[in-house]
Symmetry: C2
Subunit: 474 residues, 2 copies
């Protein structure tokens, strides 16, 4: 048997050891998501910048079409068309705080991916792992299409398509498709598809359930195990835009890029698009007739089409905007889908928070006021009544049942937590850069990035496997 087949079997067995006891067999999902005969077509990309500590080691792995930045170790894993973005890894000596207690890192933090299968997965480390802050671990884990891992420990877990594990400590657990969790230790739990659950024990709990029939329309696996639904249709239609970009080594930006902004050479930019100062457009983002005002950012797997972002807007990983206009400092959370049309635009006022995994699929023009929090599933102006609230009002809540949302706890702490995080993202991304070093962020630090490209073996026993490679000194 070829090494790649042995590797896939090995990963399945490692994950199933954790998940079969809670009723999940990952084998069908893994087998359907990989065509080993196609794996030789992809390169892996490793970005080097002068501002990030780098070290990269992988062995007995397949890294097809994947992108890495920062310190990574990948062993016995399949990392397929995934983005591993390690630009917020903590350096040696940094102090990490957990529940107010500080502890110093004895070495640079490192992303460790072992015995895992990641397909089109986004890993971005802003880790909150009290168990061992030196390692951002993804062990014995299967993560499906367009899922996001934004914090570890992720051990023995399954993440469905478009699922998000945010800041969290997970363990052997199952996240359904389009589920979002920010809820700490989920050992031996199964999170239903479409659930959006943020739980800070003793402080607050936000719990929203998307209607399963609606989730089916947007994200589902068909009887053959193929990902279908409107999200993947949308993404698939634009796939061909990315191909020429990956074939060419040369890069010439199709639009002017201000000196303080960053446009990844692995992002697609089409039509009449404009970038303001301090903007950040990450790899695998796609802009088409998009205007990004100063300090705005489009993270990995974002699509911003026929849309206008005034300034300081944050589109988190996988956010999709079509015919949308955002006021200043709007936050659009992970994998949110804001789908307007030319004759039914979606307007979002300044300071509004669009919760992760929100679907706004407009049947009529929508006008969302400023300083709102918006969640769930919205198609009409009327839907907003039961799926949004002013930040001020939400801050006053202690117990709220509104449609499919249950909120308990300190509404003000919840809103403030989000706002702090948005400020953190803007700072980290360099949105506030004023020419001084102290204000530099990703947009400035990633400017002079260069790339190493690795191709797998094309034949023989090791076909589709990559050679052991070490870049840099750990």
């Amino acid at each position: 048997m070829k090494s790649i087949a042995r590797l896939v079997d090995h990963i399945i067995s490692r994950v199933n050891v954790n998940l079969k006891p809670i009723g999940r067999d990952v084998e069908p999902a893994v087998r359907q998501s990989i065509r080993t005969d196609k794996l030789t077509q992809y390169y892996a990309y490793y970005a080097l910048s002068i501002d990030h500590p780098w070290y990269f080691r992988f062995q007995e792995s397949n890294l097809g079409g994947s992108y890495f930045l920062g310190k990574c170790e990948v062993d016995r894993s399949v990392v397929l068309k995934s983005d591993i973005r390690g630009d917020e890894l903590k350096p040696k000596g940094a102090v990490a705080y957990f529940g107010g207690l500080g502890t110093e890192l004895y070495q640079d933090e490192i992303i460790q991916i072992v015995n895992s299968f990641l397909v089109k997965t986004l890993i971005h480390n802003n880790s909150q792992n009290p168990e061992i802050p030196e390692y951002f671990r993804i062990l014995n884990t299967v993560a499906m299409h367009y899922s996001n891992i934004h914090g570890t420990t992720t051990e023995g877990a399954y993440l469905g398509a478009f699922a998000t594990a945010d800041l969290s400590v997970l363990h052997n657990c199952v996240l359904g498709d389009f589920a979002y969790v920010q809820a700490g230790d989920l050992s031996r739990q199964t999170i239903q598809s479409g659930r959006v659950w943020i739980h800070q024990p003793g402080v607050f709990e936000f719990d929203y359930m998307h209607d399963p029939e609606i989730i089916d329309r947007y994200v589902t696996f068909d009887s053959k195990g193929q990902l279908t639904g409107e999200f993947s249709d949308f993404v698939r239609e634009r796939r061909s835009d990315f191909l020429p970009m990956y074939d060419s080594l040369a890069f010439e930006s199709p639009v002017p890029v201000p000196e303080s902004a960053f446009l990844s050479r692995y992002a697609v930019v089409k039509g009449e698009s404009h970038l303001g100062d301090n903007c950040l457009v990450a790899q695998r983002a796609c802009l088409e007739n998009a205007t990004l005002g100063n300090g705005s950012n489009a993270q990995e797997n974002c699509f911003i089409v026929d849309s206008k972002l005034e300034a300081m807007d944050v589109i988190a990983h996988g956010g999709k905007l079509i015919h949308v206009e955002l006021g200043e400092k709007v936050f659009v959370g992970f994998n949110s889908f804001l789908h307007g049309e030319a004759d039914r635009k979606i307007l979002v006022g300044a300071g509004t928070i669009v919760m992760p995994h929100t679907i706004i699929d407009a049947l009529e023009p929508l006008d969302i006021p400023k300083k709102m929090i918006v969640w769930g599933y919205i198609r009409t102006q009327e839907d907003l009544a039961s799926h949004s609230m002013s930040l001020d009002d939400f801050s006053k809540q202690r117990e709220l049942r509104l449609g499919a949302l249950v909120f308990n706890g300190d509404g003000a702490a919840f809103i403030k937590g989000f706002q702090r995080r948005i400020e953190h993202i803007l700072q980290e991304n360099g949105a506030y850069y004023d020419g001084n070093d102290a204000t530099r962020g990703h947009a400035q630090k990633t400017q002079s990035v260069s790339y190493n490209l690795f191709q797998p073996y094309l034949a023989g026993e090791e076909e589709a496997m990559f050679p052991a490679i070490v870049v840099g000194n750990r």
Copy 2:
């Protein structure tokens, strides 16, 4: 000072320690041959095949535009647009023979390049190094444009443009432009430009001197230190053909390639070109309206333009053919320049040996019979009388003075030595492949080659330097 400037200074000092005592200062040549501001534009390529042992380590180096295959270590060196082809490295346990005495290799042979500056240099190891056969060493060496190193030890040496160090043990010595040596230990010697010298002490000595004025016309450095002359004019004109090839990751052969043949994806093929079975076309070779009959090969830096090779023809590194027709099993040595025109073709009969560094620049149609040896500088049919001889007649020579050639020793041993080497090359290149594993050569073994691409740092103190990288296990 930036690291790249420190590195260049360091190399100059290391080489000059060896060469200043014999009157050579390499500093001007090195400084003129490098534009450190351009170095960030190039990638380094490392080829992985399933048939060659691979291991690659480099540190504190610049590898701009360079290509590697096989086991290499590169430390504190500038390797600029060079080809390091290690597909004849001896494996551990192989027995190497020197003067009839055999010795077993205690580890795989490895190419070591340390404190060296190589620009457009071709390294191809078929090493004959009795000093330590486990290492193919290029230490403290400066090798200029289109020079060839085809054997070590090369320590403390300077090779001029289009110079060739063949099979040899060199030490601190200077090879002038377009000089060819196959002469063992040359410590503290200076070899004049245009000398073609093959010396096997006690057996034979072939010594030809090109007229210095003629060499000036073909290879010279101008007052600004820029390489000029007809050779570099010829190469420079075709440079743009190579650019799109290096920019693209995808490869589709412009001509049909038989299953048993190899066409490098880094070779240029234009016009009406054809490849026969078992052909080998190496990277940086250029074919234009070229027909390569079965078993023929075009090695690195070859140009075969408007020409036809019948079968089993060997064009060694840097050989250039324009309007040439070769019969079967013709050998064209290193850096030979056979320049015909549509109305004055150069015909070369079967079994003929064109010596390395031969210039045939036809003023009229030329017809070279079969089984000849040809050398020196030829422009007319009449010139052939004093620059060629039948192999049979040459084999009878013990002492020969003919024009600028002096030959002493065993003519038969000299001719047989060449013929054995041609057979070795054909075998190694897979020209005799018949479907059996035992007859596989480079053309078959290099089929499924994949590439790793490395890009240097683009800014900062380390600009133009590459990160330390290790591929594979030594």
